[in-house]
Amino acid sequence: MTARFLLAPATDTQITHLGRLWLYAFAALALVFLVAPTLLIIPMSFTGAGFLEFPPRSWSLRWYIAYLDSPEWRDATLVSLRAATLTMLLATPLGVAAAYGVLVVERRTARAIGAAISVPMMMPAVLIGIGLYLLYVPLGLNNTLAGLVLGHVALTLPYVTLLVLARMKSHDPRQELAAQSLGCTRLRAFLLVTLPQIRYAVIAAALLAFIFSFDEGVVSYFIATGTGATLPRRMFLSLQFGVDPTIAAISSLLMVLTILLVAAIQIIQSRGGPRRKA
């Protein structure tokens, strides 16, 4: 049955799976190129040797232990966790407010603001890093948590705004007017009526801000060194002195965290879609 389905078209116009074989091969190749380099890291992180090799000739957890035992790596991880948490806590309400503003404000002004917010998304990160570094010199913000968080908020704001905006566009603004007429202040109308309906998009945006900040290495390269170094920053630094399998262990952990959060974002967003008609 499977073979018949493979080779014989069910209708005159159907293309058989055999006829599409080249497409499957092409798609598989594309996936391999996208995923393979990152997946190679995982077995390499479990090597027993003192250098990176593939495939590993012996297996151990020593590089994970080395990561957890190192005060430098631990400090860098804490910096990253703090920065990511604060970035999330700042970028999410700001992004929601920006999305709300873009929808409420007069159309032409809103378009200009919307475009301005998405600028950091299109600029090369290196440029933003250099710019922030130069800006932070007189302000004394280089290598501080505050400076790092401000930079990351600017970087993540467009993503948060666009995610929330996409959800808000399908939301009837008259609901808030109705809520106001029924006795809500404007803020309360938003909190009681709009926010519950867009909450999945807001949570997804918050997680995205967190993971973006946690993984971000380019801007941190310029503004976060020494005791203020983030995990990705410390990884770059350690690479300059030779490749140590600890990097592979950390990368594997980062990857797992990223995949978990991205999967969470996907699941959360799919729940926030339009309700099915009964």
Binding site: L177, Q180, S181, L182, C184, R186, V193, R275, A278
Partner: protein
């Protein structure tokens, strides 16, 4: 059902010289209206006329550029919507999909911190009033358009507002349901006695439901009158054209009266003081007369029958008058046998009674 316990006092609404501009665009231009307590007033106008802007200003969602509004003498222009005690019903229903029907209706009562048993009682009473008793546990997305609008109505009246504002609440519904809801909304208004301000672009809806209708065009008030007066005595050519069906034909001044294509017209009342004048012809006011007939009270307009359109309960006869200008005569289809001799191309005489001969500024 306890209509009595839900009834609220009506509030007088005074709109004085209200204007609203957006940049150079003037949405409302010096609008003044006095609305009596408990009155059902419709703001009628084409889209973009400013009627919705006025409603949004009354609701407190938009602040007027100039002018004052008072509810029972209390100035409200600076009051935010939540302090105005008004119920608003929107065309899009604006129900909260994150709450069920009962929670939607209970929403304004919860905000007012009423005790739970009182809320439950009032929600049930309001749902009964809109004939949705027992629908409390339904989800909003399970409701039909008509049911959604009833829930929106229940939610807007459950907290005993002073005023009910409705922005084209029925235009998303089909014709039959719309006519049914028109009757129900009016019944509800009469039962509760609250001042209702209703926005529509549907002139028939406005005539059917209202105590008085304010015709608005280009941000200006054209006429504010009871439906019958609006229809029988429109203030100008715009109102005559917008309210009801009509044909407008230019007429010329002749002595103390006016003339249509050189033929003097008999008509009541003075000739309006305007440079250009039009004659308003309503299809149902026109009849056919025998050729050459003469009567003091009737204007006889000779023409040629162009076509006959059967519409079910009525029949339309399209007649070309002498020097161009086509008018329509409408008659009940049960009178068709009287017009058996009529066929396209026949010479006919259209009769217009002098009291129906409306001459207005163009």
């Amino acid at each position: 059902m306890s209509v009595a316990e839900m009834s609220t006092r009506g509030v007088a609404v005074e709109i004085a010289h209200v204007s609203k501009s957006y940049g150079r665009v003037v949405a409302l231009d010096d609008m003044s209206l006095s609305i009596r307590p408990g009155e059902f007033v419709t703001l009628l106008g084409p889209s973009g006329s400013g009627k919705t802007t006025l409603l949004m200003i009354l609701g407190g969602f938009v602040r007027p550029t100039t002018g004052d509004i008072t509810f029972d003498g209390r100035a409200v222009v600076r009051l935010p919507p939540h302090k105005r005690n008004i119920g608003v019903v929107f065309q899009s229903y604006a129900l909260f999909p994150n709450m069920d029907v009962a929670a939607n209706v209970a929403f304004p009562l919860r905000l007012r911190r009423l005790p739970a048993p009182e809320i439950a009682r009032r929600v049930a009473a309001a749902l009964d009033l809109v004939r949705l008793g027992g629908y409390g546990a339904r989800q909003v997305h399970e409701l039909s358009g008509g049911q959604s609008q009833r829930v929106a109505l229940a939610r807007a009246i459950v907290f005993e507002p002073d005023i009910l504002l409705m922005d084209e609440p029925l235009s998303a519904l089909d014709k039959k349901l719309r006519e049914q809801m028109q009757v129900e909304i009016r019944r509800l208004h009469d039962a509760l006695g609250l001042t209702t301000i209703y926005v529509t672009h549907d002139q028939r809806e406005a005539l059917t439901m209202s105590d008085r209708v304010a015709v608005i065009a280009g941000g200006r008030l054209r006429q504010f009158a009871a439906p019958r007066e609006l229809y029988e005595r429109p203030a100008d050519a715009f109102v005559a054209d917008f309210v009801g069906e009509s044909t407008l034909l230019p007429v010329a001044r002749m002595g103390a009266g006016v003339a249509l294509q050189g033929q003097a017209l008999r008509h009541d009342g003075p000739v309006p003081d305007a440079a250009a004048l039009v004659l308003v012809l309503r299809p149902e006011k026109l009849t056919f007369a025998a050729p050459g007939a003469n009567a003091d009270d009737i204007n006889h307009l000779p023409g040629t029958l162009r076509g006959i359109v059967f519409q079910g309960e009525t029949v339309l006869y399209q007649v070309a008058l002498g020097d161009g200008g086509e008018v329509t005569v409408r008659d009940l289809s049960r009178n068709e046998p009287q017009h058996a001799g009529l066929f396209p191309g026949a010479a006919v005489t259209v009769a217009l009674h002098r009291r129906d001969t409306l001459v207005l500024p163009a």
